[in-house]
């Protein structure tokens, strides 16, 4: 169980000038600015849950993860992992968590992967029987056996990430923190990584905190998401609820005869927005207010549709909309 309570992290940075002369002036200045990377956030994650921790670049996701796993000490507030604060009793917590940073490998660069695993086995005091069992499991779900004898330096990005994931799971952690585990991966590797996370969660009940910019990761894996913006939580709850935040939004894309144009086409109701893109008509509506059946009839009858594609609003669109709204209100606040 993870309990985050009023957690904040403030970085104190000297206000810097530009260029060489500005940097020299900075040396003698005493002005500092405070950057609130994480600003008073609270949430609780029960055991066995997979949580998507999302937000724009610089929203404070990695900073939170680093406080949760004991790398950074919070400026105020607290994190408790099974009741223990990781930055106070780092070693005790480290035994029970696994961490992967998509951007940085934690494996030794120039030795064969299997040698890294052997050292980690000693560090985490994994018994021989457990080690064998884990290697079999990980060998299967992450397919690492093929490149066990290669130095990490020679692995491809996808292989390296799978190796890093395997390394973080070697000691059967109760909680796994994954900071952008699919960054830069091709679709097949992404799929493999998702399946592995699923398998781990199912077989061992591992809690997973996942940050990602790939909304497919979120939709495939997470039952709950926490949306962060400028260090504060904008949304915390089930994925389905976030999707319906703007109603049951649907998009209908139509291929229509050339003479049907968006400007001149008859409208069904003001609640169905009509637009044109690449010669196709696009209808946007809330299926809770306007019955889908009615819209489809209208598309065939009045717009003479020859082909159509129905899509739900994607989680990416929702997040985009929320962040855009937030930015707009922030802009207003500044203007006032």
């Amino acid at each position: 169980m993870i309990e985050v309570n009023e957690l904040s992290k403030v970085f104190r940075k000297p206000i810097r000038g530009n260029g060489l002369s500005g940097m020299v002036k900075t040396l003698f200045s005493r002005q500092y600015e405070e950057v609130r990377a994480v600003d008073g956030i609270s949430f609780t994650v029960p055991d066995g849950e997979i949580v998507g921790y999302i937000g724009a670049n610089g929203a404070g996701k990695s900073t939170t993860i680093k406080m949760m796993c004991g790398i950074l000490t919070p400026s105020s507030g607290s994190v408790r992992i099974d009741g223990i604060e990781p930055y106070r009793k780092r070693r005790q917590v480290a035994q029970h968590i696994g961490v992967v940073f998509g951007q940085k490998t934690q494996l030794w660069w120039d030795i064969p992967l299997i040698e890294s695993f052997k050292v980690l086995k000693e560090i985490y005091q994994v018994s021989d029987a457990d080690y064998k069992e884990r290697m079999d499991f990980l060998g299967e779900v992450l397919d690492v056996k093929r490149f066990l004898s290669q130095p990490v330096r020679t692995l491809s990005l996808g292989e390296r990430m799978r190796a890093d994931l395997a390394a973080s799971m070697l000691h059967n952690p109760r909680i796994l923190f994954l900071d952008e585990p699919t960054i830069g991966m091709d679709v097949l590797v992404k799929e493999k990584i998702r399946l592995a996370i699923h398998a781990l969660n199912k077989s061992y009940g591992t809690t997973v905190i996942l940050t990602t910019h790939d909304m497919t990761d979120i939709e495939d894996l997470c039952s709950r998401i926490i949306l962060l913006e400028k260090g504060a939580i904008l949304y915390d709850g089930p994925l389905s609820k976030l999707k319906n935040r703007f109603g049951n939004l649907k998009t209908l894309t139509l291929t229509v005869p050339a003479e049907i144009r968006a400007e001149t086409a008859p409208l069904l109701s003001p609640e169905v927005a009509l637009s044109e893109e690449d010669g196709r008509l696009i209808l946007r509506f809330d299926a809770d207010n306007v019955p889908l059946e009615q819209v489809i009839q209208y598309a065939f009858r009045d717009l003479r549709a020859m082909d159509m594609k129905l899509a739900e609003i994607s989680i990416g669109d929702v997040v985009k909309t929320i962040l855009a709204q937030q930015e707009a209100t922030d802009g207003q606040a500044v203007a006032q």
């Binding site: 796993c69 790398i71 070693r91 480290a94 940085k104 934690q106 030794w108 040698e115 000693e122 900071d179």
Partner: protein
């Protein structure tokens, strides 16, 4: 016991890393041996033109130089990673991995690198001592031998402690390499008898950065019987214990200031 076993596992890992690049290893060993040989030759040429320095003969000065290499080489074997911490690793946010493992960070840094080049220095030092010893006319006592061994071993502990404390400052300053370099450079003062220095530097080298305490004083004890070997041994061990305890304390205090880097 667990940590001893873990240390050897990590050291084995470090050696595998070193041997991974065959040519690099051979070049490194060769260049290291060669650079040490060059500095020895330089000392020989300088000393040859000055037949005596503050009353010390060529053989005695050679003995000083050779002995000073012992604690330095021991330190070099076990704590080379702290240079990287001071110069680069904290600044680059490259310490994250150590903070994630259920083992003290300082232990992991020690275990990260074992530097076999240290053996080269040690062999050269022992060779120089042996050659010079044949030209010395002193009465060797058991106490003098003991204080030399203690000076070498606990001297290494003192050097390492200074290194750890200076490297720890990187957690606050982001980069403390140059500072570590300054402190470390004082060890070259200790390659010569303390008698050649003015009072201020002599005091500094005994009481503040005690390179003189574990290099010059033990050698003087052998050559002239100037100091009581047991009292000196006691002092060296005491200073080493205090320095090491302080260094570990400074490290653990500074470690909490680690900021990593954005990703």
């Amino acid at each position: 016991m667990r940590y001893v076993h873990l240390y050897f596992t990590c050291i084995k890992r470090s050696m595998i890393s070193r041997l991974e690049y065959k040519k690099d290893t051979i070049v490194a060993l060769f260049s290291f041996f060669f650079s040490n040989l060059c500095s020895l030759a330089a000392v020989y040429f300088i000393l040859q033109s000055i037949p005596a320095l503050a009353g010390y003969s060529l053989a005695e000065l050679g003995f000083f130089y050779g002995f000073s290499m012992l604690p330095i080489s021991l330190d070099h074997l076990f704590s080379d990673e702290f240079w990287l911490v001071a110069y680069r690793r904290v600044k680059d946010g490259d310490m994250d991995m150590h903070f994630l493992r259920p083992v003290p960070v300082i232990f992991q840094v020690f275990a990260e690198t074992f530097q076999p080049e240290g053996f080269g220095e040690m062999i050269l030092g022992v060779a120089l001592i042996t050659v010079c010893a044949f030209h010395l006319t002193v009465t060797v006592t058991f106490g003098a031998i003991a204080v030399l061994i203690i000076g070498a071993v606990f001297g290494a502990v003192i050097i390492t402690s200074l290194k750890v404390a200076m490297a720890a400052l990187a957690f606050i300053f982001k980069r403390s390499g140059p500072l570590l370099q300054i402190i470390y450079n004082f060890s070259s003062y200790a390659k010569y008898p303390l008698a050649i220095y003015p009072f201020l530097i002599r005091t500094l080298l005994i009481f503040v950065l005690p390179f003189g305490l574990f290099i010059s004083l033990p050698v003087d004890t052998l050559l002239t019987g100037a100091h009581d070997p047991w009292l000196l041994s006691f002092a060296i061990i005491g200073v080493a214990a205090v320095f090491f305890a302080l260094a570990v304390r400074i490290w653990t205090l500074c470690e909490r200031r680690y900021e990593s880097t954005g990703s």
